[in-house]
Symmetry: C2
Subunit: 372 residues, 2 copies
Amino acid sequence: MGGSANSLINRPILASIHTQAFQHNLNRVRELAPESKIWSVIKARSYGHSLAAALEGLAATDGFALLDIQDAAWLREHGWQGRILLLEGLFHENELDLAQELHCDLVVHCDAQIEWLERYADKVHKPISVFLKMNTGMNRLGMKPAVYRSAFHRLHAAGYRMHHMTHFANADQIDRQPTVGSQVELFNQTIEGLDGPTSLANSAAVLWHRNALGDWVRPGIMLYGASPTGLHEDIAHAHLKAVMQLHSEIIDIQDVLAGDRIGYGGRYEAPESMRIGIVACGYADGYPRHAKDGTPVYVRGGNEGGVVCPIVGRVSMDMLTIDLRNAPFAKIGSVVELWGDQVPVDQVAQMSDTIGYELLCAVAPRVPVKII
Amino acid sequence: MGGSANSLINRPILASIHTQAFQHNLNRVRELAPESKIWSVIKARSYGHSLAAALEGLAATDGFALLDIQDAAWLREHGWQGRILLLEGLFHENELDLAQELHCDLVVHCDAQIEWLERYADKVHKPISVFLKMNTGMNRLGMKPAVYRSAFHRLHAAGYRMHHMTHFANADQIDRQPTVGSQVELFNQTIEGLDGPTSLANSAAVLWHRNALGDWVRPGIMLYGASPTGLHEDIAHAHLKAVMQLHSEIIDIQDVLAGDRIGYGGRYEAPESMRIGIVACGYADGYPRHAKDGTPVYVRGGNEGGVVCPIVGRVSMDMLTIDLRNAPFAKIGSVVELWGDQVPVDQVAQMSDTIGYELLCAVAPRVPVKII
């Protein structure tokens, strides 16, 4: 609805998606989980990176895991012949024909979905793989251990190819209940003696709990080069690369005096005469309005290739304002990296009291995406 | 890139856009600013509501104000013959031909834009209206008062139809510098003796500073039925209607015991045995991850048509979890309003330390939009 994604004429904002970084990060998952197959999680337009970029950059994955069956259809239309897992299974019984046509593997997390599959058993042409989800303490989706085995037997009896799956609540924490250890123990006890491959680890478990991987791992955020914890330090030595680079430009510069205030609410007061750069990126582009004064951006130019400058004043809908005292070379048209190689998305997230996941997913449709 | 917007098969999430509410809110602006013409601000996909809905619901406006020239093109392609204002003017000189072809009015906020227009003066077929932006204390875009008059004369001499414009930093606040009064005074002093209509008021000024409107007002957030301050109380008696209703459904229910923890980080601990509803809406749909425990949602059903239930546990990418103790009638498939008539978007914003603007703009492309 308005706004073509790749026109030459546009506000000077662009999200570049680097498919080589995708490949690199996928290889890192292989190194960390060499015995496991990989579901690359690409829900939410591949965490804001576009399905097209994921299909290109993650082509070596064993399968794609996603949410919307339309996205599965898109992958098939664009030539993906590998496996596809619908991470929350089906939302309505009438999606079964399409799911079969698209050869999707299905998560099953509740009784209603079991009933749909039982009624559908006669219509199955080619065995359908089911990942039966167990609630081992996350208390979100999944069957309680007490009813898990009977659910398993019902689906197995109906002819489905059964797999076991659970999701960790705290693989990125060390002091929270339920722990990975307690969830794994409950999981293993419950599936004892039942056939079928397992799927356990999210990115945090791939990085930090390699005794809790399962036959299929499900990395998401690490494929995009960001940290499960939201803290860049936690992955600084994990050899991951940022896949998205978000750039804009300075579109105006204000010379302000000591005591002048910047933007809505006048949150920032200039301590001295200084230059303020106005950057064409705001919360309606997906940049977090929660970003505090001091959130880093990287201004290109000068002798060193660029410098970090801090945000000053509240992020507005279409613009943000930065302190240019570090960047005497900056002028209208100077390129600004909002996040990417120079400014990890997690640093922006940390200054905004959230995690990189939220920022990446929030990149708005009005931001053109360029696959590199 | 993946995911058709209006398929029948989808996750059960939907943003309904009510064009009658648009009409109602536009009429409210007319009542509050009867002497002014109205630029309806529809940047950022009409604050997440879609340009198509805005074109239908706000057809009685005097003009549309927006950011991306592609959106101007979209409006022309879809029959809009009224005025269009590019709120930040042009980003590149090479957009001038297209801007003229689309009959756009242009904001001018910096010297470079003046130079482009001077060079273009010979190519102007039909007079182009310019809204020259003055920085009266916002310190974002705009010419300083000291250079404003010479900028005005240059553009006037080049044949452009001149208008005067400024933007308020604190029309929604009473105790912040710069005040509306100080900005208006500086504006009036600066343009004294210069011809041309004025444009001053944003939504907050239309609501609360009706001595500071100007010939053209520029309402944004109030057209969508939300508050400039982010506090619903502030517009509770302003007779505005929510234009967007964001709905999803309960897709699973967990029976938890006292001491059980919910979701990532186990932020919420159940104080007793209770039912937890899992709702198919998460931060990758645009719902704020900052939402605290207690953020209201409205669960439809029961004798009273529905009840408010609080969020418990951290919002995750695709789901959120709610306390169903108030809603014994709730079941899988129960409809949940995330915001709209029952839950003002500003209440969600307030519980998330932001403003309704950010939430509305953030509604993700994967959320289908239905115009009603």
